[in-house]
């Protein structure tokens, strides 16, 4: 390969590299005016979640911090629609799934959640650490179990129908 070809290849590769680099950087962290996306490296094992969400399928892969309502949201895989909300420090005590998803056994979150955030440099990344202590107290209900259907009838309709007949 003569030097002209080598130069052409090198130039082309540099050009390609310059084009790919920004896309790769965005894949790691994408920032907009009101939301910060980042691939989480958070201590899942110490996090807890909104007690209204107890069906958690997989380990979350993305965290969104919504500045508008100071709430963190979890996505259980990149860019999908599923999200889990929790607000801090208003996360109530209650029954939640095991935060690290090692199993689905519900645990009782006894303490308030504390969230700290920090900004680093020019990159608008948010770091969240959620600390909670899990007591050995047994849960009052097993929130992860699918319930049976509710009893929403009281007989009035049937009684009226009988009277009409």
């Amino acid at each position: 390969m003569n030097s002209s070809v080598k130069n052409a290849v090198v130039t082309s590769l540099l050009l390609l590299g310059a084009l790919i680099a920004p896309a790769s950087a965005h894949a790691q962290c994408y920032c907009s005016n009101d939301l910060v996306y980042s691939h989480p490296n958070y201590p899942y094992s110490t996090m807890n979640y909104d007690t209204t969400r107890t069906q958690i399928a997989t380990v979350p892969t993305k965290v969104v911090y919504d500045k508008s309502d100071s709430r963190f949201e979890y996505f259980d895989r990149p860019f999908n629609y599923d999200r889990l909300h929790f607000s801090a420090p208003q996360v109530p005590s209650g029954v939640v799934n095991n935060a690290n998803y090692a199993n689905n056994a519900p645990q009782y979150i006894q303490t308030q959640t504390v969230v700290t955030r920090s900004q680093t440099g020019n990159v608008q990344s948010q770091t969240a650490s959620v600390v909670s202590s899990v007591s050995s107290k047994s849960p009052t209900t097993n929130a992860s179990t699918t319930p049976s259907l509710p009893k929403t009838g009281n007989g009035g309709k049937a009684k009226l129908s009988k009277q009409i007949m």
Partner: protein, 201 residues
């Protein structure tokens, strides 16, 4: 004999370099566009599924329902909870919020002990395509459209479907009683489930 320019090896090299650069440039632009498009999609998804607040009110114009949404868990016997009065409905907090991906479930009474003056007495009049609105305390509403109406034996209902938290759509199920009244157990034999899906405006 004079050498034509197209026989010149330097010209070949230059042409090769030019073509390769153009190809790589096109590929690079394509990748960049894909990436931007991808991120744009993600941003749109976040926008479309702006976090829904807790449900506070439900409106079903077809059957003149406009009432409060209570929050319930499960009873000690493992049933989904019910509202503590006959006029409100109750959202099951063990599943997604209405508007989130998965099936949110709301129960309402069919009747009282003496009459039919309860919130879901006319739920069976809904048909596919009817609209349901859920509003949060800030009056932000999300819309659902009825996709199916099913009646199940109480003991043989597809609980996995009704309480399914997976899938790509945000669903809302309305549940009330149906069937024959059993005075002994004080329970109706069937359950009416109205399935609906969120409509993004």
């Amino acid at each position: 004999m004079a050498k034509h320019w197209w026989h010149d090896s330097k010209t070949h090299t230059a042409i090769f370099a030019l073509v390769m650069s153009a190809a790589l440039l096109a590929g690079g632009i394509g990748m960049l566009y894909s990436s931007a498009h991808f991120l744009g999609q993600d941003k749109q998804v976040v926008k479309e599924l702006t976090p829904v607040d807790l449900p506070a009110r439900i409106m079903i114009p077809k059957i003149s329902v406009d009432t409060n949404v209570q929050m319930v868990g499960t009873t000690t016997s493992g049933r989904m909870g019910i509202p503590d009065n006959f006029t409100d409905v109750a959202w099951f907090t063990g599943g997604p919020r209405p508007g989130e991906r998965g099936s949110a479930n709301i129960s309402g009474h069919l009747d009282t002990a003496t009459d039919t003056n309860a919130v879901f007495i006319n739920l069976d009049q809904l048909i596919i395509g009817d609209e349901i609105y859920i509003l949060d305390k800030g009056e932000q509403s999300i819309k659902f459209k009825v996709t199916a109406i099913e009646v199940y034996d109480e003991t043989n209902a597809p609980l996995a479907r009704i309480f399914d938290t997976s899938g790509t759509t945000a669903r809302l199920n309305l549940i009330t009683c149906d069937g024959a009244w059993d005075q002994g157990t004080k329970n109706y034999s069937k359950r009416l489930v109205v399935y609906s899906e969120r409509i993004l405006d």
